[in-house]
């Protein structure tokens, strides 16, 4: 190995390629098992579904702009909010985090690919075709004008509405089968991430030195393995109900509708942590680099991530206070839910302590991280409010809940994902994103987000229920709804600027070089974009910041770190 120079020369058998545009296109984007290509493909489809789902969200907001509006019919409105929620969770959130994990985990642990490259490709194609199956529902039965047979039972698909008697036709089957398919993809991806992180770390990289991002993706993978099967099982049961006449959720034949809610939220609540922990992971990698300090409380960070992963498996029934569970159950789930606030608080404390006294560079990735800290804190506080069962009896199923979880998912997750995109785009493409356009994107999205979702808290407090397709005038909701819809327009402009920034920077962006941010983890030690084999020579590390050690041989980290 030592005889091969860096990078490997053209024409070497290890890098030989098929000639011709189509042959190389097919090799690189269809038959590929390269974790970097699959990672980018995941992120590209996540962004495409994000646009589709964002449009659905915009249509929902236009319908709710004025009281008694008739922009969308009630039927189409139901299909819109079902598709919006389903797409955002399963075909935007999940592919995006799978893409980040695929791209970053092998690079960060200093290896050449995932543990099971072909399984990796299988996971991607299952996810993509799951999404295509879901969207093909628009063209089934009555066709695009009537929005076809798109699912209309909500992303939570509560029984017994989903039983054949109440949802005839195929719309609910599209929902079940497409998610079954993409869940299988997520499961194999989770297996792959864990096997990669546990088995393929480069020499010297003990678990204690493993980057925190990889640690957090291990926690996420564990959660996927444990929490996704309840959904899969419940969906199989629902298929049996719908096609074989079984009675799991059939309340006419001693089946139980509440059982569905238990199974669904047994998946559904860990799912929100599955989505947000990768966001935490990005922030944890980005803040130290832009504060020029190592992460504060590394061990506490790992402990907090693991405890979030475990505790979050036992909080699901806080989505079910309004079902009427026994008081003991309500108390248990309220306490467990508040308990999650402790490790989350530790993390927020650690991020702030990392910034404290650092030489902060407010580049675009750092801006997103800073906004995330404020917004996620607020989202956490409304979360604690909703964890209190009596408060939830009043506001469960109101727009207060909608505002809360959009705060976590846009104010929290989306901001961290954009932070990640601005941070790793140079590594993946070799070019920087424009800082000027990035700042426009950032400020417009943040302003648009607050204009959209801050008023919805108040609409919710004033009693506006979720999932209604219209509302009467004179309840004090009009101003908030109008304001909220205008916010969507501002967000749309921000997203357009982002799209323009990506396309423009791909062609004309400033050349990035290997290590534009002066960072410390292994992915910045190879070229941008990395060659197919990542590292011609696999690295050996002695601390959790291997590139710091190389750049500062006079004062390396391994002198201070306990191994």
């Amino acid at each position: 190995m030592a005889s091969i120079s860096y990078p490997i020369e053209e024409g070497h058998p290890a890098v030989r390629k098929r000639a011709g545009f189509w042959a190389s296109f097919v090799d690189e984007w269809i038959f590929t098992v390269d974790h970097k290509h699959l990672g980018l493909m995941y992120i590209i489809i996540a962004l495409l579904f994000f646009v589709a789902s964002g449009l659905q969200g915009a249509l929902i907001r236009i319908q709710l702009m004025y009281p008694n509006n008739d922009f969308l019919s009630p039927q189409v409105f139901n299909r819109m909010f079902t598709m919006h929620g389903t797409t955002m969770v399963f075909f935007v959130g999940m592919p995006f985090i799978a893409g980040l994990a695929n791209y970053l985990v092998p690079l960060m642990i200093g290896t050449r690919d995932m543990a099971f490259p072909r399984l990796n490709a299988l996971g991607f194609w299952l996810t993509l075709f799951g999404g295509i199956l879901l969207y093909s529902s628009y063209f089934a039965w009555t066709g695009p004008a009537g929005t076809g047979s798109a699912p209309d039972v909500g992303w939570f698909a509560y029984a017994p509405l989903t039983e054949k008697a109440f949802s005839p036709g195929s719309s609910t089957d599209f929902w079940i089968l497409s998610i079954l398919m993409s869940s299988t993809g997520s499961t194999v991806t989770a297996i792959n991430i864990l096997a990669t992180a546990l088995c393929l770390r480069c020499k010297g990289m003990t678990l204690a030195r493993m980057p925190l991002l990889v640690w957090m993706f291990c926690v996420v993978s564990f959660q996927i393995l444990v929490a996704l099967p309840p959904l899969t099982a419940a969906q199989v049961m629902l298929l049996f109900d719908r096609f074989l006449g079984a009675h799991f959720f059939d309340t006419n034949a001693t089946g139980d509708a509440v059982l569905w809610r238990h199974f669904f939220w047994l998946f559904g609540h860990p799912e929100v942590y599955i989505l947000i922990i990768p966001g935490f992971a990005c922030v944890t990698e980005i803040i130290p680099v832009f504060a020029r300090k190592p992460i504060f409380g590394r061990a506490a960070m790992i402990g907090a991530s693991v405890s979030i992963g475990v505790i979050s498996l036992g909080v699901w029934a806080h989505h079910m206070y309004t079902v009427g569970l026994p008081s003991r159950a309500n108390i248990f789930f309220a306490v467990a839910t508040m308990l999650v606030g402790v490790p989350t608080g530790i993390k927020i404390f650690n991020w702030i302590a990392t910034m404290w006294g650092g030489r902060i560079r407010l580049r675009t990735p750092m801006l997103w991280c800073t906004a995330f800290l404020f917004q996620f804190l607020l989202a956490g506080l409304t979360g604690i409010m909703l964890a209190v069962a009596p408060f939830d009896w009043q506001l469960g199923n109101s727009y207060f809940v909608v505002a809360h979880f959009h705060y976590t998912l846009i104010g929290g997750l989306l901001c961290t994902l954009f932070a990640g995109v601005y941070y790793w785009f140079p590594k993946a493409t070799g070019r920087m994103l424009s800082e000027t356009l990035g700042k426009w994107h950032f400020w417009l999205l943040i302003i648009g987000f607050h204009v959209t979702f801050d008023p919805l808290h108040f609409a919710g407090l004033l009693g506006m229920p979720r999932r209604i397709y219209t509302y009467p005038a004179g309840r004090g909701w009009e101003g908030f709804n109008l304001f909220s819809t205008w916010g969507v327009a501002i967000q749309a402009v921000a997203i357009l600027i982002f799209v323009w920034n990506v396309l423009d920077s791909l062609i004309r962006g400033q050349k990035a070089g290997n290590d534009p941010w002066d960072a410390w983890t292994l992915e910045w030690g190879t070229t941008s974009p990395p060659p197919e084999y990542n590292f011609a020579v696999l690295p050996e590390v002695r601390s959790s910041r291997p590139l710091w050690d190389l750049k500062h041989p006079e004062d390396p980290d391994w002198k201070y770190e306990q191994s």
Binding site: A2, L198, N514, G525, T526
Partner: protein, 199 residues
Amino acid sequence: MSIAASLPITAIHDEARNLDRGKVGLICLILTEISLFSIFVTAYLFFIGKSATGPQPADVLTVPIWATICLLSSSVTAELAVRGLRANAKGRFQLFLGLTILLGAEFLRQTAMEWNKLINTDHLTIATNVFGTTFYSLVGLHATHVVIGLLLLLLVLLLSLGGAQMHKHERRFEILSWYWHFVDVVWIVVFTVVYVIGL
């Protein structure tokens, strides 16, 4: 580039130092399968005694002692096959692998006969009541896993009979045997839930 070039040079990845990715992968698969079975078991336990109409479990179920003996002893023969492969004793490996498949197939035959009786004599289908619903789903889910395991074992046997050098794939076969043991352990749980607690 200068940094990359100065990264210390080491040998290519040595699997000996790290965990085996196949074993880690299979343990992850088993973890997610445990979660899947737990939900079906929970549903079974939840619906015990809730069927408004018959037949009830006590009316129609008989404890499948012979099938259980077959499946559990197939774990022993699977382990003996692994040891045969490890000792590079091809005949012993093929013998015990064949026995494992026969025992697994006999288990499936017993299940098929049980279902045949339940459906045609007792008129219990998945649509009859919640007992039928949960019984066929849980036992069927397990039987599906037995079928998958049997197909994989059969593939190995055919490859070996066809002259493949199976001792080179000892690690892979061991991983497959872990899956088979898992299917057996799940049967102990299903047996306890359906034929002990539920009866």
